[in-house]
Symmetry: C2
Subunit: 326 residues, 2 copies
C-alpha cells in the first residue's frame, strides 16, 4: 500500500519504520523540512529517536499536498494542538486516516478522530493507540496496540498494515473509548509523577492511580465510550505504564512539579510540551460540562493552569474521603 | 484495645507499629524468639525493617498461648505455608481475626480467611490487603488499604483499629475478592519481572500486565468473588505496584528468572520465599479444577515448578493470539 506518515517526531518516525518493514511504500512528511533533510542525510532522527537506523528507500516529502496525494492511508502523528490545522488540509482525501495522537481539543471537546470526521467529509478514521513507547517499537521490542474505528473494514485495513510478530495489532469498535483512554491517562500520569517528585512512595502512588483508572472510565463513559474499553490495552495498559515508566514525558513533568519546579519552567519554550498539559485543560472543561466528578483531573488542572502548589494538590487528593470499596 | 500481631516479619512489625501509634495495647509474637529478643534489645527489626525505630512500651511475647490470651483482636502476619499451623492453635479464641497474608492453600484451594473459618469455630475473619510496602508504612508514607469481611461489625472494628490520616482503611464485604486479588497478583508480578529480566521493555510489560488483570479477575470470579473488587485498591492497585515496583520480592524473583537464573538458585534455602511461588502452584491447580483459562499463571507455573525456560514462557505468552479488544 501507499502510506504517508505526517509528523517525524519519535512516534511518527517509529511507525513509518514499522510500515516500511512490512513492505509498504512509505512517505514521511514533517512541518519542519530541516528534520527531513537531516533524516535524508544521516538515515537517523537523532533528535527524537536517537540511535535508531532508518531505511534508505522511503520518501521524505516536505510538501504536504504532495505527501498525501493518491495515498491509500495517511497516518497523523501530529501534536494535538496542531492537529486540526493539518486535518483541514486533507479535506478531499479518500484515504483511510489513522490518528496516533492522544489529546482532546479544547474548544470542541473532540478527540482527534472527531476532528478528522469534522474536517474530512469522506473520513474513515481509525485511532491507533496503546502502551507504546516509540523507542521500544523502533528497536523491535514486543508491543501490542489497538486499532479502533466504527468502520470495520478500516480497522481491519489498519490492523493488516501495521501487524508484525513483534507489533501486534488488535481491533476495537469503540474508537471514542480507545482515544479517551489514551488522552486522559496523561493527566493521571502527571499526578503520579507529582507523587514521585514528593517521594511519597509506591503505596500512595498505587492508591492514586487506582482512583485514576476509575476516574478516566467515569469521564469516558459520560462522553459515550464503553466501560470495558478502559480495562484494555489502550486504557489500563497505557495508563499503568505511563504512570510508572521513566520514559514517560507526562510522568516526568509531574515529577518536576512535585519537586517544586514552577509552572513557567515546566512549560519551557522550545521543549516539546507533554500532551497531558493541554489535555488537562480540555478534560477539566469537559468534566464540568458533563457534570462528572473528576478529583484528580481537577487537581492536575489546578497545578498546571491555576498555579496551585503540587504538594498541596496531592495531599488534598490523598486525604479525600472516598466511599468504601463496595 | 488489646491487640496481638503474630509474626515479626516486615509487615507484622510495621502493622504493630501502626496499632501502637493508634494507642492500642500491642503484643508482638514471633515463632523465632531470637528475633523478639533482638527487637527488645535494639528497638529495631534490622533484618526485616531496617532503619525504623520501634516503640519501647509494647509487649514482645514468645509464647503463642500467652500472646493471644484474652485479646480483642489478633493479626496474623504469617507466611501462607505456615498459616494453618498457627491458625489451629487459635481454635478457642473469640477475638476478631485479621489475616494480612496473601496466599492460597494448595491442598484446599482456600484463602487465609477460609483457613481461619475452618480452624476457629467462632471466627470473625477480616482480610486486610492492598498496595502496601511495609517499609513505606513504617516510615509513615501515605497508604490506603482495604479491610474485608462478610461480618460488617468486624470490618468496621478493623477499620477503626488501624485507621490513621496516613494509613487510610476502606471497607469491603467481598473478602474472597480482596484475598484473591492480593494472592494472585504475585504470580502476575513474577511474569512482569521475567519481562524485565529479558529487557523486553515497558510496552510488552504493559501488554502482559493488562492481560494479567483480566486473568486474575476471571479466575477470581470463577471462585465466587465479585468482578468489581478486582478493579479496586486490593486488586488492580496492588497488582500494578507489585509489577512495577523495585521493592517487590515477587517481581525481583521473576527478573532473576528472566536473566536466566536456574530454579534451585531462585529458591535459595534460608532466603524468604516470594509468596508467588507457592501461590502459582495453588492457583494453577485451582484453575484446572474450575476449568478457567489462565495462560499467565500456567506459564509462571511451568517456569517455577516444571523447569520451563523463562524466555520461552514469555515468548509463548506474547505471541499468543487473544481476541480483539471487544
Amino acid at each position: 500500500m501507499n502510506v504517508t506518515v505526517l509528523g517525524a517526531g519519535a512516534w511518527g518516525t517509529a511507525l513509518a519504520k514499522v510500515l516500511h518493514v512490512n513492505g509498504h511504500a512509505v512517505t514521511l512528511w514533517n512541518r519542519d523540512a530541516e528534520t527531513l533533510a537531516e533524516i535524508q542525510r544521516t538515515r537517523r532522527n537523532e533528535r527524537y529517536l536517537p540511535g535508531v537506523d532508518l531505511p534508505a528507500n522511503w520518501k521524505l516529502e516536505p510538501q504536504l499536498r504532495e505527501a498525501v496525494r493518491g495515498r491509500d492511508c495517511i497516518v497523523l502523528a501530529i501534536a494535538s494542538q496542531g492537529f486540526r490545522e493539518v486535518a483541514t488540509q486533507l479535506s478531499d482525501t479518500r484515504a483511510v486516516l489513522v490518528s496516533v495522537t492522544k489529546g482532546i481539543e479544547y474548544d470542541t471537546g473532540k478527540t482527534m478522530c472527531g476532528v478528522l470526521r469534522e474536517c474530512v467529509s469522506a473520513a474513515r478514521a481509525v485511532a491507533l493507540s496503546g502502551p507504546t513507547f516509540a523507542a521500544e517499537v523502533a528497536r523491535g521490542l514486543p508491543t501490542a496496540i489497538v486499532a479502533a474505528s466504527e468502520d470495520e473494514a478500516a480497522r481491519r485495513t489498519v490492523q493488516e498494515l501495521f501487524h508484525q510478530p513483534t507489533f501486534r495489532v488488535y481491533r476495537s469498535a469503540d474508537v471514542l473509548g480507545v482515544e479517551l483512554g489514551g488522552a486522559l491517562k496523561n493527566i493521571i500520569a502527571i499526578a503520579a509523577g507529582v507523587c514521585d517528585g514528593l517521594r511519597f512512595g509506591d503505596n500512595s502512588k498505587a492508591a492514586l492511580i487506582t482512583r485514576g483508572v476509575a476516574e478516566v472510565r467515569r469521564l469516558g463513559v459520560a462522553c459515550g465510550a464503553q466501560a470495558e474499553t478502559f480495562a484494555g490495552l489502550s486504557g489500563l495498559g497505557d495508563l499503568m505504564v505511563t504512570c510508572f515508566s521513566h520514559q514517560s514525558r507526562n510522568r516526568a513533568l509531574g515529577e518536576r512539579a512535585g519537586r517544586g519546579e514552577k509552572l513557567d519552567s515546566l512549560k519551557r519554550p522550545g521543549e516539546k510540551l507533554a500532551e497531558g498539559v493541554p489535555t488537562a485543560r480540555s478534560a477539566f472543561r469537559l468534566a464540568r460540562q458533563l457534570n462528572v466528578e473528576t478529583p484528580i483531573i481537577d487537581e492536575v488542572h489546578a497545578v498546571l493552569h491555576e498555579g496551585k502548589e503540587a504538594r498541596r494538590a496531592v495531599m488534598d487528593l490523598l486525604s479525600r474521603d472516598t466511599k468504601a470499596e463496595d
